[in-house]
């Protein structure tokens, strides 16, 4: 582990205004100057603006095919010489003091330290007594935005070509607040919660994302004709955020119109921002357009600069351990991660290698229509990446 403990403690002391020793003062001064210069240069917001060199990322392999595909991603990153160091952690729900379910403290500490994570599929056992692991992670790190870029993969044919859109979904409240009551026997009430703060946060994030990724427009998806107050509040916050980002075009569209137009002509959409339920449905709809969850990347952005990138498919226990898995989803999520960290060149290389391999159709895993092994597919991508360097 090459995490610079001294450097980290220096930064924490700087942040919290604690006293510095003489040697540190000079170093602190240098760091301060470079930070100011960096801020003046207006680099895109990155969570790790102080460190240089190899960045550590928490890796959660997950269950089922998780370990295989994580291995594949690590191999490809090594071949691409990406400056990433992996710190593997396991997340299984444990019961903390007071009976509250939580993730293991070492996983939490690693995530808080590294701020960036890559996660494979986690299984949710039914009737295990604890909530789903994904929900626990979401609550622990306040992952408020779920970002899913959906780009058509050349070489994996679907009836829809030229899809290039991003769905940004509010991940913490809305219809999934889990607040339900049985009022009288036979009448159930489910509460959809929309708060000003969460709506503002997601709207701001959507516009920031559009700006940082050179996207032309943001569309807010809502049903304010029926749910006037709740979706109305969400829309108002989106409009306010639009005012602050006049360089990005803003439109509003009803959920049913979006669905109707999406299956007829998905090219008209760019960035879509929406509350939880609509986001769930639409992001899966868009994943279906490009070929399903096996090829779709996804990222969860949290407060305090935390970001966890994940593959959204299941654990596929029937093919676990048989070297048949398709690592594309996790790989593309890892590419998203690289872009988030500012390592665009490495990200582009790996993505190009992946798409070229799929377009070539010589080595494809079973779900993509071929009959190669996972390791062969991985090796093909590694070879391409090495040839690029």
């Amino acid at each position: 582990m090459t995490t610079n403990v001294h450097e980290m403690s220096l930064i924490y002391r700087l942040k919290w205004g604690l006293s510095l020793s003489g040697k540190d003062k000079i170093k602190a001064g240098k760091e301060l100057v470079s930070w100011v210069v960096g801020a003046l240069k207006k680099e895109p917001p990155q969570p790790r603006i102080f460190t240089r060199g190899i960045q550590t990322v928490t890796l959660i392999p997950g269950d089922g095919i998780g370990p295989e595909i994580s291995d594949a991603v690590m191999k490809i990153f090594e071949a691409a010489k990406a400056p990433i160091q992996w710190e593997e952690r396991n997340v299984t729900a444990i019961q903390g003091p007071g009976g509250k379910w939580m993730i293991p403290p070492d996983a939490k500490e690693s995530m808080d330290r590294n701020k960036i994570g890559l996660k494979g599929p986690l299984k949710t056992p039914i009737a295990a007594g604890h909530p789903s692991m994904n929900l626990l992670l979401r609550k622990t790190f306040d992952l408020y935005a779920n970002v899913r870029p959906c780009v058509s993969i050349e070489g994996y044919k679907t009836p829809y070509t030229d899809v290039n859109l991003v769905t940004i979904r509010e991940n913490t409240e809305g219809e999934y607040s889990g607040i339900e009551h049985v009022i009288v026997d036979g009448v159930v009430q489910s509460i959809k919660l929309i708060t000003e703060q969460a709506s503002q946060r997601i709207a701001e994030y959507a516009f920031e994302y559009a700006r940082n990724n050179q996207r032309a427009s943001v569309t807010a998806v809502h049903k304010a004709n029926i749910m006037r107050m709740s979706d109305g509040l969400f829309l108002r916050k989106c409009r306010e955020a639009a005012e602050k980002h006049k360089d990005v075009k803003f439109t509003e569209m009803y959920l049913d119109t979006v669905c109707l137009n999406m299956v007829q002509d998905p090219t008209q959409f760019d960035v879509l921002v929406m509350p939880n339920l609509y986001g769930d449905i639409l992001s899966d709809l868009c994943a279906g357009l490009i070929g399903g969850l096996g090829v779709t990347p996804s990222g969860n952005i949290g407060a305090n600069g935390v970001a966890i990138f994940e593959s959204v498919h299941g654990t596929a226990p029937d093919i676990a351990g048989k070297d048949m898995a398709n690592p594309t989803a996790l790989l593309l999520s890892a590419v998203m991660m690289l872009r988030h960290m500012g390592l665009h060149s490495h990200g582009n290389n790996i993505e190009t290698a992946c798409f070229d391999t799929i377009r070539d159709k010589k080595v494809l895993t079973k779900d993509l229509g071929g009959n190669s092994k996972c390791s062969e597919f991985t090796e093909a991508i590694c070879q391409r990446v090495r040839d690029m360097n």
Partner: protein, 388 residues
């Protein structure tokens, strides 16, 4: 037996034989049908039916006019009572008049009434008000691939039955704390059983083999869990029909990759909105699919995806197919089956002609050309007034 005594006899036997064939007042010649699908006969005087027509906004008025024109041309024994609903005024008198007219006539054909979502919550959606007041609990949309319309997927034949009155559309919202809004989604056992029952009865009547319930019960365990339970309960009474369930996000994914796997789908309100729009998009767009809203006593017909079409209003470019097919559903409901099939055949023959396609189907035809072509098709097949 005199006609009067037969009629009084049929009145006495009404609980037993709950269907009345128009024009034939003998209890013996009526076929036995399930009681709960029966709606009382609509206004019928001198052999002509009166139907409420609500033009609505956007393309509604012009399409309503085309329907009237076509019906006049085909000598359909239907008179329309036009009730205008002005969506820009805050008062609900207009919509209440419309509702009263529908209660009077029993059937209606409606265009979509615009809802300005920037107005405060006291201004309720007029369409929603109409549906809930008249308790039109089932929204039925039949999405079929039409010959002559090029789409990415072929051979789609999905019937969507959507609960139309409760769920997320209960319009119950409040702001307890400034900045925190709660919206209630209500699911009740009675309405879920009712819609499930309607779905399975329809499946049986139309010969459908499989019913899929769409839900999100893994997250909304109590609400959608109740809906699913009701569907399972009703399914047990229909052993010849396969019942399965699917989570809504997986459903949309399956719909865009392999829509041919679905047969009949039943679901609560909001998911119905999403799924019906996705299916309409898959078969060719909002201009092709008609929709019907059925209640215990009333029926209202409209386009399936309920669009106002403000941007293409009054330009003679709207696709009249959806509204005209909805009027055929209306005729079927009024038991004027011969007229319905005559007009439907003419519409389908026109839709298969690519040069008449309107802008939404990628062509350059105008609405009036399409309607004219339908009238020509009707004339060439010859009106079949004797086969009723």
């Amino acid at each position: 037996m005199t006609a009067r005594s037969v009629r009084s006899l049929s009145g006495a036997l009404k609980p037993l034989f709950s269907n009345r064939c128009p024009g034939v007042y003998g209890a013996a010649s009526c076929n036995q049908r399930q009681k709960s699908t029966y709606t009382p006969p609509p206004a019928r005087y001198g052999g002509r039916h009166t139907v409420t027509l609500i033009p609505g906004d956007g393309i509604g008025p012009e399409l309503g006019n085309h329907v009237r024109e076509l019906f006049r041309f085909c000598c359909v024994p239907v008179d329309f009572e036009v009730v205008n609903v002005d969506s820009s005024v805050a008062s609900e008198d207009d919509i209440n008049n419309a509702i009263m007219a529908i209660r009077r006539n029993g059937v209606a054909l409606k265009g979509n009434i615009e809802t300005n979502h920037n107005l405060p919550p006291s201004y309720k959606s007029r369409n929603n008000l109409l549906r809930t007041t008249l308790d039109l609990y089932a929204n039925v949309m039949h999405c079929q691939s039409l010959p002559g319309v090029r789409t990415r997927h072929r051979n789609i034949d999905i019937m969507i039955i959507r609960e139309n009155t409760e769920g997320e559309y209960s319009s119950l919202e409040h702001e307890n704390v400034p900045g925190v809004v709660e919206c209630l989604k209500i699911i009740t056992k009675t309405k879920s059983l009712r819609i499930a029952d309607y779905a399975f009865r329809t499946a049986r009547a139309k010969g459908r083999r499989r019913v899929t319930a769409v839900h999100k019960a893994n997250i909304m365990k109590l609400g959608d869990g109740l809906f699913l339970e009701c569907c399972k309960e009703v399914a047990s009474g229909y052993p010849e029909i396969t019942f399965d369930s699917m989570i809504v996000d997986n459903t949309t994914m399956q719909l865009v990759s392999r829509p041919q796997q679905f047969d009949l789908m039943v679901m609560p309100n909001l998911y119905g909105n999403v799924v019906s729009n996705v299916c309409a998009g898959l078969v060719g767009g909002p201009g092709l699919v008609p929709g019907a809203n059925y209640g215990e006593d009333y029926a209202v017909f409209e386009t399936g995806t309920r669009n106002t079409g403000k941007s293409i209003a009054n330009r003679n470019t709207a696709n009249p197919t959806a509204m005209l097919l909805a009027s055929c559903l209306l005729l079927d409901h009024l038991k004027l089956h011969a007229y319905a099939s005559m007009i439907r055949r003419a519409i389908l023959s026109t839709v298969s002609e690519t040069r008449l396609h309107t802008a939404d189907l990628g062509g350059q035809g105008s609405t009036s050309e399409v309607v004219q072509s339908i009238m020509n098709a009707v004339q060439s097949t010859g009106p079949q007034t004797l086969s009723i």
